[in-house]
Symmetry: C2
């Protein structure tokens, strides 16, 4: 396989994949990333064409691990040099990548992916082969996806010790808006609001530290993920603003924040008891397999060990 | 000393104070709390009059560690039975307690306190003698406070391994609104918003878990702290809403959240590099000592070892 982009996520995929016994080549635009990877004993290059030719010779799985703004240009190179390779990505939005892949004419070889893991740090040196251990890794089951490519990407996610959550691109993006992009915006607003209050930093403890942890993420990364998912983030942000405005009115008029606090506590309790049944009864490629996987994922189902592929039950 | 209320905070104060060699009696209204403390080897009673008579005999420091709604009734008992004892509290708002203390006629014996530590758990069993280690513990320096009482409460906080941050009640409340009460409301809104989105809990990872951690706090405690500080929380919440509304407009109109993300990241970076110089040059009771301590606290200053008291320099 070939990992394009050796930042936190791409670098961790390369480490985990090689750790699982895969042959893999990394590409990074900047010399620092590629040198860092080579210094740590991995194969890596700053020559994109070389990387893609290597992938094309082997029909290797290509993993796009670059920021969203770099995707389109990279896809046109892939189309030119390695257009027959199976293709996935680890980018935090799925609709925008899907549209770019369609535009590049690579849709039939593509299955979207998103490992839901990260830290506030970035770059090759921040990577960790264990980053994905136990984390949900979304694989898209949009109508176009091919069973054989899906199987390959599923094996990559499982090799990285993740649990696979099947979902459509749009459902993924709506969920990501609420559990990843909205938290980032709230954390930024909290940090800035407190930063304007004398004494606030002097008193800040756990609530503030936890609530602003993700505000330490590099601004470019936060912007890239939020802005590429504007379509889903806007209604999600509107809903949060509605809840906060209601609480504001209730506090001003009746001195109470009961409604928001009780609803929020109940939601968090539902999350804490949310179960993760293992998906075992669906075969990849069988009739309606994409819709069945999407429904199972929506219900909390995860793939912990490889599902069979139709025609290759062992 | 006498600790009234043996929940998470009061129970931790009792443990830490006894651990530091103090003689202390705990009071808890419910049998469970007092029994739990006795079972763990501490002196505790469910008889408030007995506890206050014990304190009055010794002129012991009384520590109010009950929820805000229970404060006024408790203060009138203290006034009746132990009106000469020095008095402090560990409640998360300071103006409301100050007003209640003034109304009860106990102002001349009172110094407000607030250890900035906690967990999502509550009750005697959740307490921990090390809960305050390294945490900021606000002591109020409003105009009325007496140097001798202040000295006693400072020693209690230092015995609990906290660092003392001097502040006026109103400055404390404004800061607490931004670093404690606002984070709770944002966490509740985040949990509820995500809870309405299919697939969200299935994908939730670090950003969501951190961002909603405090939503696991008992709703009554969150309501008590937010509602008792409505005067400061409302403008703080309004500022956060203003920042989020600006980001919403910018995302919708120009596809950008740059302004909020960059401001939030910069604020978080300022917090990470916020220094905590030790306050060493102020003597308690000297001219303008209260205003000087307030200014030092505002600048990040903390008391790590006991300040001298005028007339008792050793």
């Amino acid at each position: 396989m070939c990992v394009l982009g050796l930042g936190l996520i791409g670098g961790s995929v390369l480490r985990a994949a090689v750790g699982a016994g895969r042959e893999a080549l990394g590409y990074n635009r900047s010399v620092e990333g590629a040198q860092g990877a080579r210094f740590d004993g991995f194969s890596a290059t700053t020559d994109l064409t070389e990387a893609l030719e290597w992938a094309a010779e082997r029909e290797a799985l290509i993993v796009l691990a670059v920021p969203m703004p770099a995707v389109s240009q990279l896809l046109s190179h892939i189309k030119d040099v390695a257009g027959d390779c199976p293709l996935t990505d680890v980018i935090s939005v799925k609709r925008a990548v899907l549209d770019a892949v369609r535009k590049a004419g690579l849709l039939d070889r593509y299955v979207g992916g998103h490992p839901m893991a990260g830290t506030a740090h970035s770059g090759w040196s921040a990577g960790d082969a264990r980053l994905f251990a136990g984390a949900p890794w979304v694989l898209t089951v949009d109508e176009h996806v091919d069973a054989r490519v899906w199987e390959q990407v599923m094996h990559l996610a499982l090799d990285c010790q993740a649990v696979v959550v099947p979902a459509t691109s749009d459902e993924h993006d709506a969920a990501a808006a609420s559990i990843s992009h909205l938290p980032h915006l709230l954390a930024e607003a909290l940090a800035e609001t407190a930063g304007e209050v004398p004494l606030a930093f002097a008193l800040a403890a756990g609530s503030f530290r936890d609530g602003t942890r993700v505000a330490a993420t590099a601004p470019d990364l936060v912007r890239a993920m939020c802005e590429a998912n504007a379509e889903q983030l806007l209604p999600t942000l509107d809903r949060a603003l509605e809840l906060l405005n209601q609480a504001r009115a209730s506090l001003a008029d009746r001195g109470s924040v009961a409604e928001l606090v009780e609803a929020g506590h109940a939601a968090r309790a539902r999350y804490d008891s949310f179960s993760r049944p293992q998906i075992v009864t669906i075969a990849i490629g069988e009739e309606d397999w994409r819709a069945e996987l999407a429904a199972a994922g929506r219900a909390g189902g995860v793939i912990r060990s490889a599902l069979p592929v139709l025609g290759s039950r062992r």
